[in-house]
Symmetry: C2
Subunit: 346 residues, 2 copies
Amino acid sequence: MLANRPPNSYDVAQAAGVSQSAVSRAFSPGRSIAKATKEKVLKAAAELGYQPNAIARSMSSARTKAVQKSGLVGVVVTQLENQFFAKIVHTLSLSLQEQGWQILLFSVESEVDVDPALFELTQYQVDGVIVLSALMSQKVAQHCRNLSTPVVVFNRYIKDLDISAVRVDNYAGGRMAADVIVDAKHQYIAHIAGIQEEQTGVDRELGFCERLRERGATLYQREVGDYTFDSGYEATQRLLNMQPRPDAIFCASDLMALGAMHAARTLFGLSIPTDLTIIGFDDVPAAAWPGHQLTTISQPIEEMGQAAVKTLVSEMENPETPASQQVFAGKMVLRSSSLSDLYAQI
Amino acid sequence: MLANRPPNSYDVAQAAGVSQSAVSRAFSPGRSIAKATKEKVLKAAAELGYQPNAIARSMSSARTKAVQKSGLVGVVVTQLENQFFAKIVHTLSLSLQEQGWQILLFSVESEVDVDPALFELTQYQVDGVIVLSALMSQKVAQHCRNLSTPVVVFNRYIKDLDISAVRVDNYAGGRMAADVIVDAKHQYIAHIAGIQEEQTGVDRELGFCERLRERGATLYQREVGDYTFDSGYEATQRLLNMQPRPDAIFCASDLMALGAMHAARTLFGLSIPTDLTIIGFDDVPAAAWPGHQLTTISQPIEEMGQAAVKTLVSEMENPETPASQQVFAGKMVLRSSSLSDLYAQI
DNA sequence: TTGAAAGCGCTACCAT
DNA sequence: ATGGTAGCGCTTTCAA
């Protein structure tokens, strides 16, 4: 009688009348084993419902193999509820699974939870880590370096240059927004910034303001939000109560831009873009909805996700790979939330 | 000289001048160890940058301990980009982490990828699995039962009654929608159904139609969508081209309802709810946006997420726990996308 | 091509 | 309270 436990390689070996080593070989692609033996093993395994134990497997291969020690990649995300990040995680997931890695997910409430998450991940011997929009402390960066666990940060800046980063060109995106607004000859130009502690939003604002200045325009007013719909909605109320009223707002995220749009329409009865031009950043699905038609800077998420995986994989495969910083160009998507000059309309 | 590998418990033991067993005990809460010894060990560990290897740990405890064999829980999700599911995953994540479990995430493209995902998960010796909105085949269900891996399906029906399920009462939700529409005395009542192969949407429609009949109303027309914004948008075009035009639409998801709303406004110039009442299902964040104000049935996501975790944990802790079916009541959230009768206005 | 045996890092038992 | 030791399931030498 079989014990009440899942079958292991010895059970299969016995059933197939071969050694345990043979079973191991049968399940390891590219190892030397006779075809007949392999078939015998696979047949017995199927009958017993045997599956190799990935945990045990990773324990024994940890010693020799450089890659796929555990086959696990840690993914840390702070705002999974934001469609933008959900989409990235999905992209990463597909891409990693394709290459045989599993995702150990950490969805944390706030930036302060990132550090502990990383420590837990390393206990699980993850072969690599991808951090989405999170502040990694120097301490953790050092910790990962000690463990020689490659890390890639997504849409983030890491002061420590030894860590690879994949991100969109936020500065250039800000400049594009400025051009669209100046082209449309707006007078009272406002900005709703993102979280001040994060470089992402700071760069968007920097590019925006610098380009305004270059084109001879000036920023009329700025407000600060936290990338959420509600913060955009509220900031816009403050802006639109000003005299004179702003006639263009560049928001550091689409969600804030949508908040701005809803506030302008429902609270102030404004028409967009006739009374007010609104520009966002990210190009989330809702930006393209017919009633929104938000002009925004689109990020090549899939491309960036694949680049992140590719970078991580090559660092996992070859620990000597130097860290790299990859910057992707965003694309200005002109929709009808912004007035366009003649040139843009053509 | 230390080898170029992370320190293990023997390294720490040597550094602390104790046995390896002592190191193990120092890192296992509640085991018998002298305070002084523990401190010595922790100090040495900190100096060496030692962390227990969770993989190895799970290998040795697999033998004896019933719970936390691997400390891993598999989560399979088909539509992570849908905010509704992203929110569930986030809730599950927090709740599982709190209890010391890690999430092995499988974000798959479609239902057909669920089966292979489950097989991969079991190789990682997950202690349990939560399946979100996915069809589990009988084969996989049987596979998990053989492995005695508990499974909880979220917002799904499983024909196999041995598998626990947590879901909202879709049938009752459909009835609520019918009541709101009949109360407002609508004449031409339409429905945009969800994917026909899934019980979720079928039940919503069933409850809706049955309640209409009970109230002496009839369904004027129905269309079928796939829960996405676009499918709602398109189905609504077909509906609103009818003569006479429907004056109320109940949609099987908020995304489809928002698609309906945008189509009605931008393509037909209709006012909501004056010309058309729209009701959704789920209560996603965008439903509450000022320009949408979508009447919908809200699902108690956090409660349901916690229930799913609680159910899974108790089945992991005690394999004898019988499977349970938990049905949560949805809540009608009246906003201004629906005409309300006097009673509802009070 | 195959089988025997060592060992991955840890926990849990058994003595002491 | 502590240390020694068996063994979790597998991969990988090493011999045959």
